[in-house]
Each structure stands twice: as C-alpha cells, then as structure tokens.
C-alpha cells in the first residue's frame, strides 16, 4: 500500500469574527492557498476526491453537504461530507488513498462560529432529551463535572490546570493564525470568574472563525508536488458512550483507544520518547492534561506536574500546543482537528517561525469533538517517510 502525505495546507483565520466573508468565501480563500501550497494543483482536474467536514446544526443548514462544492473547485466532481471533526475527514482521506483507487484527496473543515447566535443552545440540543435537557443549565457544566472528578482522582491541582492557559496563550502570541494570544499570569487565570466549579473563565477557549484545507496525496504523486511532504504515519479514532450517567469521568478513554490505534500503525512504542511535540485538544485547560495522559505521553495523574515544571513549554522536553492550542488560537469547532494538523505540518516543515520546535521529526495531532461528545481522533505525522 502507498504511503500517504500531506502535500498542501491552506488556512484563513483564526479570528474572533469574520463578518466581511461568507463561509463560502472563507473556504475559497483557504482552498486557493492549499492548492498553491500543493505545487499549484488545479482542483478541477488534479483532485480525485473532496472530503468536507461539517455538522448541520453548527452551520444553520439542513444537509449542509450540498453547499460546499463550488468554492472548493469540486462542482461535478467526487465529494463526500463527514459529519464530524476535520481529523475524521483526514482519516477518511487517508483510507481513500490507501485503497489504491485515489491519488489526491482534499480535506476541508471550517468554523463560522460568529454566525451562530445561540451556540450554547445548540450544544444544549446535543444533550439527551429525556434525561439531561430538562435539568436546564449551561451545558458546559459537563466540563465542570469532568474536571472535578479528574482533579479528585489524580490529585492534579487547579493551579496546574491554570498553567496550561498561561503556556498556550503565550505560545499563541507567536502564531499569526491565533486569535487570542496573550501574556497573562497564573494569578489572572486563578482569579478569573469561577463559571462551572472548578472550571474558570480563562480556562475555557473562545470560539473563532477560520477555515483549513489540506491536500493529501499518494507517495508517487506527493513526491512530484512537493519537496516537503509530511507523511501520515498512523490515524485512529474512537467514540465512548454518549451517556453522561455511565461514561468514564476521569480518563479520556476515547482518546486512549484512538491513540492506541494510531500508535500501532505508526509503530510508536514509547510516545514520550518517540514523539517530538504534540498538538492536543485543549478547549478546556484541564483537557490538555487529561488528554496527555490518555495519549500515554506520561503516566496517569502526572501531566499537571510536568506542565508546572515547564516540560511541555515551547522550549521544554516535549512541547505541547506550540500553536497556542485552542485556548490561544480560538476554538474552531469542527475545524479543531485540522487546527492541530496544520500546526504539526508547519512545524515538521520548519515553517513555524518564532515558535519553531527544533529538530522536530515526529508530531502528534489530537482532537475531541467537544461537549457533550466523547469522540476523539489522533494522527501521527512525520517528515521522515
């Protein structure tokens, strides 16, 4: 089977609002950049399949799939939509190329979060209608529930969670794609409003608008299009039970199983040693720590200490979220996974500018579909075939 590489990336945003562009225009701009980056391919002829990722309720359309081809150059071409995070689209593209039937596949995901006037009501609508919705409240209490149990079980401190915010927002200052970079102190995070005990306001990512388009290619095509291919070494994904009543509230099991699937394929036996940096879903600060453990980057309950000791800082032993994460870039909803992939690609090509991780060869991208889901996905990427 052919190896699969990412040969082009295009990104617009991320910004708090984008009232000047429609979602179609946002997608067009990102697509133009990605095709140019992939050696100037013509999507009308050179792309075999287009995979877009979107959730109808976040778009405000029924059957949103139908609204995407024109702006990607995919009209009257072969297109399919994955109703989920962009990384599931990457996994789909990867498999399509692995079949041997397709050589070039485009993946797209975007966020027009600023167009959703009742975002929290949409999230609320994702809760079970019989058991959970009637209880009311802001659906982010689910993050508070999980954080509380996680701290209780692991002994991780609130300060250690707050350190994640300080680190990620600081990294984001160096990232032109980040909407919310800032130099803030631990005290500022700790003193920010306690919204869903023990979760505080500054520990919650703010949504942002943006679009990311990737071009993936088989080995034979990749080497013609670019001299900086980023190889997909393994992908994995997994979904836990949706039931709040019975799911695991301490460990992100969906992430552990997704990681095991990806690591097996990528032949990663010791993640901390084999991976040079990681982009981890951090829509809430504690999630970065919980996910680090589920990704087996460290022992259960030790991620907080490692973070506090600076081992995951930009100049640390294993930088986590050099992009600034979702806390710094802004929460791109279903584009979150591709925000992670984008940063890993830029780092592995040595194009991450002031936030470049030195000698990076293997990077990990991880995503989660956010509240109220328990779905995660993982991709291991490398600049070495």
């Amino acid at each position: 089977m052919s190896e699969v590489a990412i040969v082009g990336v295009g990104c617009v945003g991320f910004r708090p609002i984008t009232p000047e562009l429609s979602y179609k225009e946002l997608m067009f701009e990102a697509a133009v950049k990605a095709y140019e980056d992939a050696g100037g391919i013509n999507p009308r002829e050179d792309v075999d399949v287009f995979v877009t990722c979107a959730e109808d309720y976040l778009e405000g359309f029924s059957i949103f799939d139908e609204f995407v081809p024109d702006q990607l150059g995919a009209a009257l071409r072969h297109l399919l939509t994955v109703s989920g995070d962009g990384m599931l689209g990457l996994a789909t593209a990867y498999m399509l190329i692995k079949t041997g039937y397709f050589d070039t596949v485009v993946v797209e995901a975007h966020s027009k979060a600023s167009d959703i006037l009742t975002y929290m009501d949409i999230v609320q609508f994702g809760l079970d209608p019989i058991f959970n919705r009637p209880l009311g409240g802001h659906p982010y209490y689910i993050a508070g529930l999980e954080m509380n149990r996680y701290l209780h079980e692991t002994g991780t401190t609130e300060e250690q969670c707050a350190e994640v915010v300080v680190k990620n927002k600081k990294n984001a200052v160096l990232n032109p794609h980040a909407a919310y970079g800032a130099n803030i102190t631990l005290n500022q995070v700790m003193c920010s409003e306690r919204l869903f005990h023990p979760l505080k306001k500054l520990e919650i990512s703010t949504p942002a608008d943006g679009c990311i388009v990737l071009v993936l290619a088989s080995e034979k095509v990749a080497e013609k299009l670019t001299d900086k291919p980023v190889w997909v070494k393994g992908v994995g994904w997994c979904t836990e039970t949706p039931s709040l009543e019975t799911r695991d509230w301490t460990r992100a099991v969906y992430t552990r199983l997704a990681a095991e699937m990806a690591y097996k394929e990528a032949k990663i036996s010791n993640p901390w040693r084999d991976i040079d940096f990681a982009e981890i879903h951090d829509v809430f600060a504690y999630k970065e720590l919980q996910h680090m453990e589920a990704l087996k980057l460290c022992d259960y309950g030790t991620a907080g200490k490692l973070t506090e000791d600076g081992l995951t800082a930009l100049d640390g032993e294993l930088p986590v979220n050099p992009s600034g994460g979702l806390l710094g870039m802004g929460y791109g909803l279903e584009a979150s996974g591709l925000q992670k992939v984008l940063e890993v690609v830029l780092q592995l090509r040595g194009e991450a500018g002031a936030r470049q991780v030195e000698d990076a060869q293997v990077g990990l991208a991880h995503t989660w579909r956010g509240i109220p889901t328990a779905t995660g996905a993982v991709a291991v990427l490398s600049n070495v075939k």
């Binding site: 009232p19 000047e20 429609s22 225009e25 009308r44 024109d70 150059g73 167009d115 919705r133």
Partner: protein
C-alpha cells in the same frame, strides 16, 4: 389495515390523550438562531436589489456572466473579474404549481415557483422566484417571457423579496 391484519395489537392513542397527560412525553423547542454573513458577492447583490437592479459577476476565462454573483468561478476555479448588471426580464426555464403548503394544507391560490433565465446572464443562470398575475395556471408555459415586479423603493430591504414576483409579458 391489510387483508390479513384486521387489528394491530397495542393501545390506540389520540391527540387528546397527549393533551390530557394520559401519555407520558417530553417536549423541547430548540433555540437555533443564526446570522449568515452574506459576504462580498451576496452583500453587493442584495444592495443592488434595494436599488432595483440585478447584478452579476463575470469570469474572463470562461466568459460567463454569473447570477447570483459569487467571487469565484466554480467552473474555472479562479476569482471572478468584474461586476455587470443583467436585466430584470427573462425566460421561464421550468416551473411548478404548488397546490398545498409546507404543512400539507390546501392553498386557496396555488403558488407558482419558476427558474428564470435572466436576460444578459449566461445560459442557464438567473433567479428562482414566484410567478403571479398569470390568470389561469394552465396558461403558463416553459419558455414564456417574464418581467420582475418590484416593491416600491421605500419598501425594499435588500432581500430577494424586494422583487415581489415575476409576471408574464407578451412578446
């Protein structure tokens, strides 16, 4: 009921049983509100509707005059090159006559929706709108010429409904 089954097993339930609370149920009304950004192309299109004009964008590669306008040519995958007005007259490409509403209730007056190829736009491009002032719907034919009937300027809001409808025009 079929020939073989005269009576389905189970309890029969009527609307009043729900109203009277004899049937347990949960109801939830989603609050889903959006503000779709119109963007560069559609914002201009809507503004021009307010002025009583229909605007298109052009592609210098395939030469098409595209309406509704967009900032990219989906055929050539390149940015469009300019703006041009098209006429508010055209030809019925196809039409259908609806006798019932979305909730399946019977309409007093049928609604006629047509795909209209506008004069000045490229082949097969134009607008979707309602046809009124047609007399008997059986008189409407594919290929007939139509013209926009606009709201008075002070009533226009920059919406597709700034055109009230299209009416048939004699050749």
């Amino acid at each position: 009921m079929s020939v073989k089954i005269k009576h389905y097993p189970g309890e029969e339930v009527e609307t009043k049983d729900f109203r009277e609370g004899k049937v347990l149920f949960e109801s939830f009304r989603p609050k889903a509100k959006y503000a779709w950004s119109a963007g560069i192309a559609i914002s201009r299109f809507l503004e021009e509707l307010k002025n009583g004009r229909i605007i298109a964008t052009t592609c210098s590669k395939c030469g098409r005059i595209m309406v509704p306008p967009r900032i990219y040519c989906e055929k050539c995958f390149k940015p469009t090159d300019g703006w041009t007005y098209v006429k508010d007259t055209g030809v019925i490409n196809t039409f259908s006559v609806s006798f019932i509403a979305a909730d399946a209730s019977r309409l007093k007056e049928p609604i006629v929706v047509a795909i209209i190829n506008l004069d000045g736009a490229s082949e097969g491009m134009g607008i979707v709108h309602r046809i009124e002032e047609y007399g008997d719907w059986r008189e409407i034919k594919i290929g007939m010429r139509v013209k926009a009937v606009w709201k008075p300027p002070e009533e226009r809001t920059g919406a597709i409904t700034d055109i009230k409808y299209f009416k048939l025009v004699k050749e």
